[in-house]
């Protein structure tokens, strides 16, 4: 007989250590997959996880990828902590990118220090407004935010497609589906010559700090925590549930919008069809791997960013498709959920009792 019981109390250190365990299990699982594909697992894992960050350029690329992931995941943690399941950060990122990109095109060939802040702000507002759609539909029409936010991703993607092919396409671009390159005043400053790492990382770090402040030191953060643990209690305490849903979606959408605008004004420099390699979806894994904790999310974003880089290196050196990166992301989530199950429940193996024989 096997019996599954809920554990009464879970130690805090183990709670934050299980993500590490999940990462090791992922490495192990990845090794097995490489072995089955006919590679030496140790070598392959080295190509995947060590080679990409063994030089300065690689480290800079790691931060370039971690910057949007961390930013989006931080925003999502507000939603997830309060039991709101915003799955559409990808759409909010794209919409933020569209609005920010639109403003950047508006200021085409326009100098001035104020241009970039305006673009960044409009990107954040774009993401925020886009996230308010599922929030308002949820609070006033009882719709399911998972479905609405997810479906809006495709709306944003198609809108972007339309804009870069149609009205916003580069007049001198030979009908390529892309806009003009933004002018210099609309680009994120590069931190080091020759590397792609840009000022967006500071936006992310400031957001992490502010989020920590809000979540742990303010009344709003306290209300988010209580609502996440027990909606019944939040209702009893008289928290304004509807307002809070809208606020967490706004925060989350603004973060995703910032990530989007950071991408187009940073490494990309224009709008085209693929401004995000699914950062908005991958950030969900980051948020949970980081235990919805601001510091945890920083680490988690670095690790998940590495799977993006590793996939590219592996594609070059091992000739495996770059989608291997998604396999690793999937494995991280799988092992994390698996170890969480063992963390919150214990399995008891009971001997057969005499009367059952």
């Amino acid at each position: 007989m096997i019996k599954i019981e809920k554990r009464n109390d879970v130690s805090r250190s183990i709670y934050f250590l299980t993500p590490v365990l999940a990462i090791f299990l992922t490495l192990f699982g990845g090794g097995i997959i490489f072995y089955i594909l006919g590679f030496n697992p140790i070598e392959a894992l080295k190509f995947f996880f060590i080679t990409p960050i063994s030089d300065l350029y690689g480290l800079s690329e790691l931060l370039v990828k971690a910057t949007p992931l961390c930013l989006i995941a931080i925003g999502l943690s507000f939603c997830f902590k309060s039991n709101n399941w915003n799955i559409g950060a990808e759409g909010q990122l794209i919409f933020g990118g569209i609005v920010g990109g639109g403003v950047a095109l508006l200021f085409y060939n326009h100098g001035g220090f104020y241009v970039l802040p305006i673009i960044i702000l409009s990107g954040a507002i774009g993401g925020m407004l886009f996230a308010m759609i599922p929030a308002i539909l949820k609070t006033y029409f009882n719709t399911n935010e998972i479905l609405v936010s997810l479906m809006l991703v495709y709306v944003a993607k198609l809108l972007l497609d339309y804009l870069v092919v149609g009205p916003w396409s580069n007049p001198e671009g030979f009908n390529f589906p892309e806009t003009r390159q933004f002018s210099e005043s609309a680009r994120m400053p590069i931190l080091f010559d020759g590397l792609r790492i840009h000022a967006g990382i500071f936006i992310t770090l400031i957001t992490v700090f502010l989020s920590w402040l809000i979540l742990y030191k303010t009344y709003l953060g306290f209300q988010i925590k209580v609502s996440g643990l027990s909606l019944k209690t939040a209702k009893y305490a008289g928290y304004k549930g509807k307002t809070m849903i809208i606020i967490v979606f706004m925060i989350s959408g603004a973060c995703a919008g910032l990530a989007g605008v950071g991408e187009i004004t940073g490494p990309i420099g224009q709008l085209h069809r693929n401004i995000s390699p699914d950062y908005g979806f991958t950030a969900i894994i980051v948020a949970f791997l980081g235990r919805l904790n601001p510091v945890g999310i920083i680490f988690a974003s670095l690790i998940v960013a590495l799977t993006y880089l590793g996939a590219e290196t592996a594609q070059i050196f091992l000739q495996v498709p770059k989608y291997t990166g998604q396999v690793f992301q999937g494995m991280i989530l799988f092992f994390l959920l698996g170890s969480d199950y063992l963390l919150f429940f214990k399995i008891k193996f009971l001997g057969l009792k005499k009367n059952e024989l």
Binding site: D9, T218, Y219, V226, L229, K232, Y236, A237, E356
Partner: protein, 499 residues
Amino acid sequence: MNTKLKVSEISKIYPGCIANDKVSLEFGSGKIYALLGENGAGKSTLVKILSGVVKPDEGEVFLNNESIKLNSPLDAKKNNIGMVFQHFNLFETLSVFENLSIDSDKKDEDLRDLVNGILEKYNFKIDLDIPVLNLSAGQKQKVEIIRCLIRNPKVLIMDEPTSVLTEQETDDLFISLKQFSKDGILIIYITHKLKEVLSLCDEVAVMRKGKVVSVSNTIDEKIESLANKMVGENLNTIKKKINNFKNSEEILKISNLNFKSDDPYETNLNNLNLSLKKGECLGIAGISGNGQNELFQILSGEIITEGSSIMFRNKEIGKLNPRERREYLMAFSPEDRISQAAVPELKIYENVALNNFKSSNFFEKGLVNEKKIKEHSKKILSNFSVNTDNVELKSQFLSGGNLQKLIIGRELITSPELLVCFNPTWGLDVGAINYIHETLIQINEQGKSSILISTDNDELLKLSDRICVIYKGKLSKIMNADTVTAEKLGILMGGGTID
């Protein structure tokens, strides 16, 4: 086809609660048995044991004098024990027939013939090929019953079957059940509705606090005698000194309160009117599930009702949420202390911060003032004799009694003018019960008012100045506590009228 079912010395202990304490009962086919008791009396546990969902710690079940092992619902099915739960287990989007065929190993054509036979025999009118979501509650229940009948049950257990039915549907159900009984199926009917017991059942077993307190023929019983057995008739406790509040100031007035719920498992409230004087305790009695939950939530502001008026200290507060009502000096202690009044995963001081009001300064300019909250929490812990002084302790580690003291303390330390509490002592030990009772008497002595919604008549008679009974969402007339007797309460709780 003679069926005998016997449970012998069944015990089931959950942490902190004895759900079944050496329960022994015998049933024989041809009769309809009622299992009567309050929520938490242990009927559901017993039924779960009979249907294989829960395993007893001790005791045995005998079917036709043979000991049977019920380790899973499958074992119950094998032994021809059928069960219809209060909440339906049907796939809404599948058709009636698909729902029936899911757990049947018969061929579709055979099953259809069988089901049509059952429909004809018992005069059920259900279209087998429409999706279940198009059925009424009564029809869904019939589908569940048919699902049991397919297996030729010897025993059919019905758990609170009428809670979602209309009166017509209830009448139909009773006709069917009587027919099943005639066909030799042993029927065990679980309920807390007294009238149903008298009109349907032949024998009645009453459970209270995990024990069987009486087994009798329904012919020998009346509504009030059953009600007394259910809630206990031990009235030897000292009553509070009853005061005369004629000249006191009126603090709360509710007029014309109506509530209609979309949820069929909730109770609608009909035209409630009540008023409360300063320093008075109004007791609201009733068998659970008659609208107490809804009434509490309306008083606390968790449910806002349209068109009704709640005047508190001459201000209309009907549209305010719980936090806003607290600012007007109301306080609330809900029934579900474990997961509503407090969050088990939160620390004691965080749970204290749930009752936030402006003058507390827990949150200044939106920031958490942890020091203030902790100081305040320490004060509650010592003033209300909670058995710890560690405000960092998670509240899940407090015993029920200490948790309730913390909650009552949190609500009372603000010196509210009105405390609304709902079953404040359920599941507590005698020491904690006495402490809570003394505290509630004390606040009345200090000129503060209270509304006590409770299913424990002893408690109500001990603490209330005036008492009324809630039955099917309606309030009885409000009586002075010294004129109330257990018999009167029993009649009103069963839906009868007095005078």
